[in-house]
C-alpha cells in the first residue's frame, strides 16, 4: 500500500504547476505559456512575501512580536481551510484518470490518499509562502535560539494538516450528499455556497465577540490579540507560543496531534472513496427518448443556452463565481439594514458611504467573473466551436451575455437595496445604476481578454482552471482592482467634484471596455487558441 501511495503521489505531483509540460514539451508555445504562468506565480509570491514580511515587521515595531507566529499561522490556516473546502471535492474525486487507475492492481484507498497528499504539498507551499518571510523577519530582529528554528520547522510541516482535515471533511460531505442527487453539480454548488456563507457569518460573529473581551486585557494588547486568535483558531496560538518559546516538545505534540487528526480523516476518505466515486460517476441513462417537436433558435440564443448548461454542470465553477454577486447583495443589504450613518461611524476613514458604495458593490460583483475561465473550460470540446461556422464575435458574445444574465438578478436586487438605503435623487440614481453596470461590463470583457491570452485547454480537473489558472487570477483582478481604485479616487476627491469624477470614470471605463471588446472580436481563435 505504501509503495502504491508513493508511486501515485509522484504521478499526481509530476505536473504540479505545469512543470512536466515545461520540461518535456517540444511545443514552444506550450513552454512559453508555462513560463508565463510561472512568472505570474512568482509575482504573486513576491507580493505575498512583501505583504507578510511587512506585516511581521509592523507587529514587531508595535511590540507585538509574541503574536507574529500565531498570527501568520492563523492567516495561512484560514486560507488553506477556505480554499481547500472549495476544491477538496474536485481534487479528491476527480474523474480524469480514475478508470485507468482502477483497472490497475491498485487499492482505491491508495488513489484517494495520493490525491490528499498532492493537495497537502500544494497547501504546504502556501504555508511556506506565508510563514517563511514572516519568520525570517522575526528571527532577524529578535535573534531567537535553536529551539525557535527546530519548532518552526516542525510547525510549518504540520500547519496545513488541521485546516486541510476540516476542509476535506466539509468537501467530502458536500460531494457525498450531492453524489446521491440527480442534479449533482447544482446540489454541490448550493451546499458549497451555503458553507462559505456560514463560515463568513461565523467569522463575523467572532469579531462581534471581540467587544466582550475583558477590558483589563486590553491593557495588554499582545494578550488581547492572542485571545482573539485563540477564538478564531486555538491551535495557532498553541503552536505560535511553542515557536516563540522554542518549546520543541510542545511543537512536537502539536505536530503529532495534527498528523493524527489528518491521518484519521484520510483513512475515512479512503474508506468512503469508492462508494462516493461510484455515486458520482454512474449516471443512469434512461434510453427512453421519443422524438417530439423541435424548435429552431437564433445562433446567439442557442450559444448562450449552451453556456448556461456548461456553467451549471460544474459545481466548482458555480461556487467560485456566484460568491461575488451574493456578497454584493449582502453588502448592499447590510447597508440598508445598518443605515449609512452607522456604517460611516464604523469606518476608519471619514468617507461618505453613498459615494463609494456603488464601487464597492461593483468590486464584489467582479471578484470572479465567469468569462475569465470560460474559454479554458471548453477543454477538449473546443474543436466544436472552432469547426462550426461561428465567428469569434459569436462565440465571445455568448460568453459575455451569459455572465451578464447570470449577474442581472443579483445586480437588480443589490441596486434595490442601495436605492432604499441611500434614497438618491434623480441624478444620483443614474450614477448609482450606471457605475456598477459599467464596471461589471468591463470586468466581463476583460475576463475574455485575459482568457484569450492565457488559455489552457488541456486539463485534468476543472479546479486547476477555476482556482489555479493564470486567467482566473488575472481576469478576476481586473474589474475588482478597477472598482477599488475608483472607490479610493471617490474617497479622496472633494464632494463638489464627485459627479464630474463619476462621469469621467464611467466614460473612461466604457471606452476601455469598447476597445477591448473590438480587439477581442478580431482575435484569431484558430491560430492562437
Amino acid at each position: 500500500m505504501l509503495t502504491q501511495i508513493k508511486i501515485l503521489t509522484k504521478l499526481e505531483l509530476c505536473n504540479l504547476y505545469g512543470r512536466n509540460v515545461f520540461r518535456f514539451s517540444k511545443d514552444r508555445k506550450a513552454r512559453k505559456k508555462s513560463l508565463g504562468l510561472l512568472a505570474i506565480w512568482v509575482l504573486l509570491l513576491a507580493l505575498l512575501v512583501f505583504y507578510v514580511g511587512g506585516l511581521a515587521y509592523g507587529l514587531i515595531c508595535l511590540g507585538l512580536e509574541a503574536v507574529v507566529p500565531a498570527y501568520l499561522i492563523t492567516i495561512s490556516s484560514v486560507l488553506i481551510f477556505v480554499f481547500g473546502m472549495l476544491k477538496a471535492g474536485g481534487i479528491i474525486f476527480r474523474k480524469e484518470g480514475y478508470d485507468i487507475l482502477c483497472a490497475l492492481p491498485l487499492s482505491k484507498g491508495a488513489v484517494a490518499i495520493s490525491r490528499l497528499l498532492s493537495m497537502y504539498v500544494e497547501e504546504l507551499l502556501l504555508a511556506l509562502a506565508v510563514l517563511l518571510p514572516g519568520m525570517a523577519v522575526y528571527a532577524w530582529n529578535l535573534r531567537p535560539g535553536v529551539g525557535f528554528y527546530l519548532t518552526g520547522l516542525l510547525g510549518i510541516g504540520s500547519i496545513p494538516l488541521l485546516p486541510m482535515a476540516a476542509s476535506i471533511c466539509i468537501g467530502v460531505l458536500i460531494t457525498g450528499i450531492s453524489s446521491r442527487m440527480r442534479h449533482k453539480s447544482l446540489v454541490a454548488a448550493g451546499l458549497s455556497v451555503f458553507a462559505v456563507l456560514g463560515i463568513m457569518y461565523g467569522t463575523s460573529r467572532l469579531s462581534a465577540v471581540e467587544g466582550s473581551i475583558d477590558p483589563k486585557m486590553l491593557k495588554n494588547l499582545s494578550a488581547s490579540v492572542m485571545a482573539l486568535l485563540g477564538k478564531v483558531y486555538p491551535p495557532a496560538v498553541w503552536l505560535g507560543r511553542a515557536i516563540t518559546c522554542g518549546d520543541v516538545l510542545c511543537g512536537l505534540l502539536c505536530a503529532v496531534l495534527s498528523l493524527s487528526v489528518f491521518a484519521a480523516v484520510a483513512a475515512g476518505v479512503a474508506l468512503c472513496f469508492p462508494k462516493i466515486c461510484q455515486g458520482l460517476y454512474s449516471s443512469a441513462a434512461k434510453h427512453n427518448y421519443q422524438m417530439g417537436r423541435l424548435k429552431a433558435s437564433p445562433v446567439l440564443s442557442s450559444l448562450c443556452r449552451r453556456e448556461f448548461r456548461r456553467y451549471f454542470s460544474s459545481s466548482v465553477y458555480v461556487t467560485n463565481t456566484i460568491i461575488g454577486p451574493i456578497m454584493g447583495c449582502i453588502l448592499s443589504g447590510a447597508m440598508l439594514v445598518a443605515g449609512t450613518e452607522e456604517l460611516e461611524k464604523m469606518l476608519p476613514l471619514p468617507l461618505e458611504v453613498g459615494q463609494v458604495a456603488p464601487f464597492v458593490i461593483a468590486g464584489a460583483f467582479c471578484m470572479m467573473t465567469t468569462t475569465a475561465t470560460s474559454i479554458s473550460l471548453e477543454g477538449k470540446s473546443w474543436w466544436i466551436a472552432k469547426s462550426l461556422p461561428l465567428s469569434a464575435k459569436n462565440i465571445l458574445d455568448a460568453k459575455i451575455l451569459m455572465n451578464l444574465l447570470l449577474i442581472l438578478p443579483f445586480y437588480l436586487l443589490s441596486e434595490l437595496f442601495l436605492i432604499f438605503a441611500l434614497r438618491p435623487g434623480a441624478g444620483e440614481l443614474l450614477w448609482l445604476l450606471l457605475v456598477p453596470a459599467a464596471i461589471i461590463l468591463f470586468s466581463c470583457v476583460f475576463g475574455i481578454t485575459i482568457n484569450l491570452r492565457f488559455p489552457v485547454l488541456e486539463w485534468e480537473s476543472e479546479v486547476r482552471i477555476v482556482k489555479q489558472s493564470a486567467s482566473a487570477m488575472l481576469g478576476s483582478m481586473g474589474g475588482f482592482l478597477l472598482a477599488i481604485l475608483c472607490a479610493v479616487a471617490m474617497g479622496i476627491v472633494p464632494k463638489g467634484y464627485a459627479v464630474s469624477l463619476k462621469a469621467l470614470l464611467c466614460a473612461v471605463i466604457l471606452a476601455a471596455t469598447a476597445a477591448l471588446y473590438y480587439k477581442n472580436n478580431r482575435f484569431d481563435l484558430c491560430g492562437r487558441v
Binding site: 513552454r31 429552431a296 456548461r310 474543436w383 469547426s387 462550426l388
Partner: protein, 241 residues
C-alpha cells in the same frame, strides 16, 4: 469541392507536420487518406477544417479560401475528429439542436433528419440522455448525426469507423454513398485498408508529412494487388526527402 495546394504545416519544436501537400477532391469523390500513425493525416484534416492554422499553401472549399473566408467554408462542411469529445453536459438531442441552430436548419427539416438518421444508427432512444453517459461508439454516432443534420457538401472524417458497431459501419457506408451520389464529397482518414479499397474511388497515401501516392483507386491499386500490399510497398520504399 476541396482544393489543397502546397499545404505546409510544421509544429514548432518537433518539426513534424505536413510538407507541400496538394490534393483535389471533386464532387462525388469518396477520398481515403491513409498513412501510419503520426504521418500527418489529422494535421491535414484539422487545417482543412479551419481549426488549425498552417504555415504555407492554400485550402479552398467550394471556391472559398479557408483563411480569407472561414465562415463561408465552414458552412459547407462537417468535420468529425478521431475522438469526438462532445459537450458532455448536454443531452444528445440538445447537442443536435445546437448544431442545427448554428447551421440555421429549420425545425421541420431537423426533426425529419434526426428521426431518419437516429433510427438508422439506432440511437434515438438515447437522445434524451446526457452525452457523458454515452459510450465511445454512441458519441461517434451522435457526432455523425450532427454532421448529417445540416446536410454538408463536404464531409471531413478522421477515422470514422473506429468504435462503430458492424451495423452502424454498414449504415455509414450507405450514407456516404448516398451523399456522394447527391453531389457531395467525403475526405476521410482510415487505417482500415479493406474498407478504403471497397468504399473509395480515390486514395492518397502520406508518409512523414509528404504525399507519396494519390489518385484513382483503380490507378493506384493495380489488378491482382490489394491496397494493403500497395500501401506497404509505397510507404516502405517512398523517399520523402
Amino acid at each position: 469541392m476541396l482544393k489543397i495546394e502546397h499545404l505546409t504545416k510544421h509544429y514548432k519544436g518537433s518539426g513534424k507536420g505536413v510538407t507541400d501537400l496538394s490534393l483535389h477532391i471533386a464532387p462525388g469523390d469518396i477520398y481515403a487518406f491513409i498513412g501510419h500513425n503520426g504521418a500527418g493525416k489529422t494535421t491535414t484534416l484539422k487545417c482543412v477544417a479551419g481549426i488549425q492554422d498552417f504555415d504555407a499553401g492554400t485550402i479552398q472549399i467550394g471556391g472559398k479560401d479557408i483563411r480569407k473566408d472561414p465562415l463561408a467554408c465552414k458552412r459547407q462542411f462537417a468535420y468529425i475528429p478521431d475522438n469526438p469529445d462532445l459537450y458532455e453536459y448536454l443531452t444528445g438531442i440538445q447537442y443536435l439542436n445546437f448544431t442545427a441552430d448554428i447551421f440555421g436548419v429549420g425545425a421541420r427539416e431537423r426533426e425529419e433528419r434526426i428521426r431518419t438518421y437516429g433510427e438508422a444508427f439506432e440511437i434515438t432512444a438515447s437522445l434524451g440522455d446526457l452525452i457523458s453517459t454515452y459510450s465511445h461508439g454512441m458519441k461517434q454516432k451522435l457526432a455523425l448525426l450532427s454532421a448529417f443534420v445540416h446536410q454538408p457538401k463536404l464531409l471531413l472524417l478522421d477515422e470514422p469507423f473506429v468504435g462503430l458497431d458492424p451495423k452502424a459501419a454498414v449504415v455509414l457506408k450507405d450514407i456516404m454513398h448516398s451523399i456522394c451520389a447527391g453531389g457531395g464529397a467525403i475526405f476521410f482518414s482510415t487505417h482500415v485498408l479493406d474498407v478504403a479499397e471497397k468504399l473509395c474511388n480515390k486514395v492518397a497515401m502520406i508518409k512523414d508529412g509528404a504525399l507519396v501516392a494519390c489518385g484513382d483507386m483503380e490507378t493506384v491499386v493495380k489488378q491482382g494487388q490489394s491496397l494493403e500490399s500497395i500501401f506497404m510497398e509505397v510507404v516502405e520504399h517512398a523517399d520523402t526527402d
